[in-house]
């Protein structure tokens, strides 16, 4: 069987992942691009006597290598030289989407252009002649509807014919008029420069003239002299032709595209898009817009989080005095069902293993360590799945772009874009999906900033501990509410401050400027959303699952191994010794109790564990009682509240962060900076309250 390697390229919102999934079906794999944070989707299918391997390149508007995605797409085409590159364009938005196609055609010849949504265009009276398009572009053009599986057979046949050399294809050469003269000067300067010569010469010289960060870096490295010439030439273009080369080149491409479209597209009737008009009038309204968007975000968050863990409906029920109802409610949430399932599973297993006379050490390791760790991983899966599905839904309908637009002015103040509001708000439920959600952000810099600040947002696990500690305060109910609200307010203030500081360091204070396509609203495809959510969940399981499981077992070992080997008693374990060693540190924030230090240590596994550890080591049944038994002063409790809210994110969050960026330095930075902020804040709170006599 002959193998054909196909790369799928296309701008965002053209239905590229739909086409990819329709082609390869279940035979797909998700991974990462080597050394990058971007997901890589690969799959294969068989047709006639061919095995066709498809790589789904990241969705990009161009091949300028301004973003990680663009660099990946471009490098793949250049270094892997796929047998065929399929570029997807959108029939409804042909001009804009043809821009990428033109850039690919300038770089590569074995290309097939697929015009997607040809059916939707027809409904709007847009007739596209693929024959004329093909003649103008120099490569085969096929009209398809990926969602309805129309034209796919034709597309696959065309791919095979191009791969077999049965179709005439040619690389596109545009006339850049005045620019060509300057580009040729660069051509002479860079000729023979290693690395650069992997690209077509006239292509790279034009790209350098336009300003291409990646090519400039290569040039700096191998032929630094030429770089000076490139910069000088660019300045001469601006002086001589009155505009930057990047604008002139884009204008040449667009006038070519305008010509192509004018010849191959005929429009009958008036193009009307009432749904988009009407919805945009609400979602982008200066007052109603942000409110409606916030409403959408909050309802999505509440639904996803409530189904999963009961938060925040459960807490609301408790506050209004319906604690019994709250209990029942929590029991039937996904994580409630999971945990009761795992409880009975470990009970049955423990009984069986003890029955076959396995040593207590092994029973505990398997039941508490391994099964406990597996349970911790599994309880995250529904959350990741539901959140991914919700994000997929918002992206696919076109609502996400509006949310990003309406909130941009607010988020810009802290150096982030409007889109970042969505993942950050998820952090109130759980930091894990919040960090995963930063993948939707446009730039690497923003993904990193948002992921660094997300763990400062108090998640529901921390809320549980906060509520326990606050209940233990000898104060009026009003004062308790004030304590809770100020804790949240303080964390959010820190989120804003750290975001600002991080964006100053990472982008020299340059605020993100918004340039965003607002795709027409459309009914979401459940199939597409399902794929997206399923793939994200599998990816999380494969990547973060192992880390979470491994660390859970390590912590189990610390808690169950002591100087005399295996121990059931936590107060004779290595963990206690570590807790005692850490006591000087907690003493700085006014709490010289090894019990607290140990509880904070276990809190690294999952924040809610702080409460259960305190109960176990104080020999009490109720966490509030445990806190009282330690006889902490209000100043000490307040210090603890602040520390727990801010300190080192839990294991799952750290694992997710590390899987996303895969750089130990960054992971250590995250842990260290949160620890530092938490310690400093706790010290200040303790000293201030202590001085006031609390």
């Amino acid at each position: 069987m002959k193998e054909i390697r196909v790369a799928l390229a296309g701008p965002p919102n053209v239905g590229k992942s739909t086409l990819f999934n329709m082609l390869v079906g279940a035979n797909r794999f998700v991974g990462n691009w080597p050394g990058k944070t971007v997901d890589k989707y690969e799959g294969f299918f068989e047709h006639m006597e061919y095995s066709i391997r498809v790589v789904d390149l990241p969705g990009t508007y161009s091949l300028n290598a301004q973003t990680e995605e663009e660099a990946i797409a471009r490098d793949y085409i250049i270094t892997e030289k796929p047998d065929v590159v399929v570029v997807l364009v959108d029939a409804v938005s042909l001009e804009t989407t043809l821009y990428l196609a033109v850039q690919v055609l300038e770089l590569y010849d074995r290309v097939v252009i697929a015009v997607n949504k040809i059916d939707a265009a027809l409904k709007r009276g847009i007739h596209i002649s693929t024959e004329k398009l093909s003649r103008k572009l120099g490569v085969p053009v096929v009209g398809i509807s990926a969602l309805r599986r129309e034209g796919l057979h034709d597309l696959v046949d065309t791919i095979i014919r191009v791969a077999e050399g049965l179709e005439t294809v040619r690389r596109l050469k545009l006339d850049y008029k005045g620019l060509d003269y300057y580009a040729r000067e660069i051509e002479h300067a860079i000729k023979g420069c290693p690395k650069i010569s992997e690209y077509p010469l006239e292509w790279s010289s034009m790209r350098l003239l336009e300003g291409d960060a990646e090519l400039e870096r290569t040039l700096q490295h191998y032929c630094a002299d030429a770089l000076g010439l490139v910069e000088a030439t660019r300045r001469r273009v601006e002086e001589g032709l009155g505009s930057p080369p990047s604008l002139l080149a884009a204008s040449v491409r667009y006038s070519f595209i305008d010509g192509v479209v004018a010849e191959s597209v005929t429009t009958t009737g008036v193009v009307k898009r009432e749904v988009t008009e009407r919805l945009d009038k609400i979602l982008l309204h200066p007052v109603a817009g942000p409110l409606t968007n916030l409403g959408i975000i909050l309802s999505v968050l509440i639904v996803t989080l409530t189904v999963n863990t009961g938060f925040p409906i459960k807490q609301l029920l408790e506050l209004t005095g319906n604690s019994e109802l709250a209990q029942v409610f929590e029991k039937y949430t996904i994580s409630g069902l999971f945990s009761s399932l795992f409880d009975s599973l470990s009970n049955v297993l423990a009984e069986y293993l003890s029955g076959i006379r396995l040593p207590a050490f092994l029973v505990s390791l398997i039941v508490d360590g391994v099964i406990g760790g597996v349970g911790a991983v599994l309880t995250f899966l529904p959350l990741v799945f539901i959140v991914s599905a919700a994000f997929g839904f918002l992206e696919d309908t076109g609502v996400m772009a509006r949310i990003a637009t309406a909130n941009h002015s607010i988020m810009r103040r802290v150096g982030l874009s409007g889109k970042s509001l969505m993942p950050l708000l998820l952090g109130f439920g759980c930091n894990v999906p919040a960090i995963m959600g930063t993948k939707i952000l446009e730039t690497d810099r923003e993904k990193l900033i948002a992921s660094l600040i997300a763990p400062l947002i108090p998640c529901q696990a921390r809320l549980v501990v906060l509520l326990i500690l606050i209940s233990a305060l000898p104060a009026t109910p009003m004062a308790k509410v004030v304590a809770l609200v100020s804790t949240y307010a303080y964390s959010l203030l820190l989120v804003a401050v750290v975001a600002r500081v991080a964006s100053t360091f990472l982008s020299h204070g340059e605020k993100p400027e918004l340039v965003l396509e607002l795709p027409p609203y459309h009914r979401p495809s459940l199939r597409v959303i399902w794929w997206f959510a399923w793939d994200s969940t599998l990816h999380f399981l494969k990547k973060a699952g192992g880390i979470i499981l491994g660390l859970s077992v390590v912590v189990w070992l610390l808690l169950h191994l002591g100087p005399d080997g295996f121990t059931e008693d936590i107060s004779s374990s290595i963990a206690k010794a570590i807790g005692e060693a850490l006591t000087p540190l907690t003493a700085v924030m006014g709490i010289p109790h090894w019990q607290v230090a140990l509880a904070l240590l276990t809190g690294f596994v999952a924040k809610e564990t702080v409460a259960s550890t305190l109960t176990v080591i104080t020999g009490t049944v109720d966490p509030v009682e445990a806190v009282q038994k330690l006889a902490l002063t209000p100043a000490q409790i307040a210090s603890l509240i602040i520390f727990i809210t801010l300190y080192t994110p839990c294991l799952a969050t750290v694992a997710t962060f590390h899987t996303q960026f895969r750089r130990y330095k960054l992971t250590i930075l995250l842990i260290a900076y949160e620890f530092a902020i938490a310690t400093v804040s706790a010290v200040i709170v303790y000293q201030a309250l202590n001085l006031m006599g609390f």
Binding site: Y61, G211, S246, H408, V515, L518
Partner: protein, 79 residues
């Protein structure tokens, strides 16, 4: 056409049809503008222009452009 017809996009009235005359910049976010076809000579319809980003429509596609960028795009009102 008098010179007073030429204004920054950030001041264009919603519903008006404007032709882009000049863009003051060529790096970073401007490149993305060019890639999306917001370039001199092109005509766009201003859909929204209130407090937030300016929303324009070109060839059946809508774009949101931050106010900072919109202030650097000079347009001529044509309708």
């Amino acid at each position: 056409m008098t010179a007073s017809n030429i204004i920054p996009l950030s001041l264009a009235r919603p519903g008006s049809l404007v032709r882009i005359i000049h863009v003051q910049g060529g790096r970073g976010a401007f490149k993305r503008l060019f890639e999306l076809g917001i370039i001199p000579g092109e005509t766009v319809r201003v859909v929204f222009n209130d407090a937030g980003p300016v929303v324009v429509e070109r060839g059946g596609t809508r774009f949101a452009i931050g106010r900072g960028l919109a202030a650097k795009i000079l347009v001529e009102v044509v309708g």
